[in-house]
Amino acid sequence: MSSKPGMATLGRAAVLSIAAAFVILPLVATFLGGFKTIGELRSSPFGLPPHWDMSYYGEILHNPQFWSYLQSSLFVSLSAVLLTLLCASMAAYVFAHIRFFGSKMLLSYLLLGMMFPFATAILPLFIKIRDLGLLDNYLGVILPQTAFSMAFAIVLFKSFFEQLPHELFEAAYVEGCSYTRFFFQFTLPLSTPILATVGTFVFVQSWNNYLLPLVVINSREMFTWPLGMMQFRGEFIVEWNKILAFVSLTIFPAIVFFLAAQKYIVAGLTRGSVKG
């Protein structure tokens, strides 16, 4: 009898370790691969490198193009975040606090956006972006990304705003504070947790997005990092060590960001699922 809990603990540890290895091994191999020569990579793809060759990482870090990819992505993602936070929170505020004719209809109209993947209309979207003259323009990426994040952002904001204490608004109303001023002066400052959660999700989505920049951005000096990475891969198709170094350097900021923002990522996943 006494060995039973021991066995269970052991089994649990084994299952968790195997699952963790499944997740981590490819990442570690990628990171280490950037230090190996092609020959070393071939003979031992998972072991430690015999000598740590920094040149592949160094080459990429000294490549101004690499930094320009990251800069483009950062600009696009931050713009999409700011624009989504502003537009979605304003709309959600109206839906949460002001009753007016047609508000339910308008809300369900916006929530349609949660239903389908944005790839469905990528061709007409491409034509629209082209006709608006936004091809090879960051706005051609930022605006559609914002539009596609709108629905889920509005849902999260609306339910948060509805939970804010109502007495606050009544007090402000007596003082003669308008809805618009109340939003900027009270609602937004009180909503930092939800702003951070929505912002984190929009940022990750935009930062990782491949299809839209692929369609919109043509010139290489404007590439976002996923486009740059695929371009790099195309150029060094057999030199895995260089590619792995490149991939590692893009994963690294993602992991750091993940550790810093995990609270909001978990909050977003939980909020989205518990509310359902």
Binding site: M90, N208, I243
Partner: protein
């Protein structure tokens, strides 16, 4: 007239969201429905009306059948492999302890990595000259085996990457649900049931059934959107056997600027999504709520 400025607020706050959404989400979809009835290369006037010809070509195209079937395979793999894995791990680590938190972070990490980077990492892992498969082959002193170029196994490799990337997401949904189960309930259950599997089967799982249904829903919608992962892994090959619906759309509609045809694929995907979402909601989620 409105001292509190309700009307001003509405007129100021709603239009940006509505405008962006209408311009970049709704009209493209309506345009897709319209353009799918034409043959158009994207330049000049749209005049070449072909009726439903794009659709009949599409539904007769064997590669499209394959890509539909591939999407179904991803859905099945999510439900039969990914969700049970996520659920099992969630049950193991849902309690709030430092080690559990660490495991949770590790399992969730692939979820935030870019699909395109994940695909590249795994295309190295599956490379017949380097990664895992090379190691396994040489250990068995077999000739190198290129999984991603193999018609039989390439899609299995893609499914592996999808599970790797998304099981943490589903696990988090289950953990959130398990943590919201009241503790007294579990204590009471542990008095009645001797074995822990009984508590899992008869108490915990029924209590989080809503989360499971939701997770299946996300799986289905997600499976229909797979694209970025496939590009670095197989790019739809070998001989177009590993396309998803979206990569099919990309390859046969977008890269050839077959606007009409690509729109027809988009409309088909759209209808497929809406149909699945509505049916699933009606059959599974609603029913669960009323019960």
């Amino acid at each position: 007239m409105y001292r509190d400025g309700k009307l001003t607020t509405i007129l100021l706050f709603l239009p940006p969201a509505l405008l962006l959404f209408t311009l970049f989400v709704v009209t493209p979809i309506l345009n897709a429905a319209h353009l799918s009835l034409y043959r158009w290369s994207g330049f000049g006037e749209v005049t070449d009306y072909v009726g439903l010809k794009n659709y009949s070509t599409l539904f007769a195209h064997s590669i499209f059948h394959q890509s539909m079937w591939n999407s179904v395979k991803i859905i099945l793999a999510s439900i039969l492999l990914q969700i049970p894995l996520a659920l099992g791990l969630a049950l193991l680590i849902y309690r709030k302890t430092p080690t559990n938190t660490l495991f949770r972070l590790v399992f969730l990490a692939p979820y935030i990595l870019a699909e395109i980077a994940s695909g590249l990492i795994w295309s190295f892992m599956f490379d017949g000259d380097y990664g895992v498969s090379a190691q396994v082959a040489s250990a068995l002193s077999m000739p190198s085996f290129y999984i991603l170029a193999d018609k039989q196994f390439a899609f299995l490799a893609i499914i592996t990457v999808i599970v790797w990337k998304y099981f943490g997401f589903h696990m988090m949904i289950f953990i959130a649900a398990l943590q919201s189960v009241p503790g007294e309930l579990l204590e009471a259950a542990s008095l009645d049931c001797r074995k822990s599997w009984q508590i899992v089967a008869f108490v915990k799982l029924p209590l989080i059934s809503h989360a499971i249904k939701l997770s299946v829903f996300f799986s289905i919608i997600g499976s229909l959107q797979v694209f970025d992962i496939i590009i670095p892994l197989t790019n739809g090959g070998p001989s177009n056997s590993t396309h998803s619906i979206v990569s099919y759309l990309y390859t046969f509609g977008l890269t050839r600027l077959n606007v009409g045809y690509g729109s027809a694929v988009g409309v088909a995907l759209f209808l497929f999504c809406v149909f699945t979402a509505l049916t699933y909601k009606r059959l599974v989620i609603r029913e669960g709520k009323s019960a």
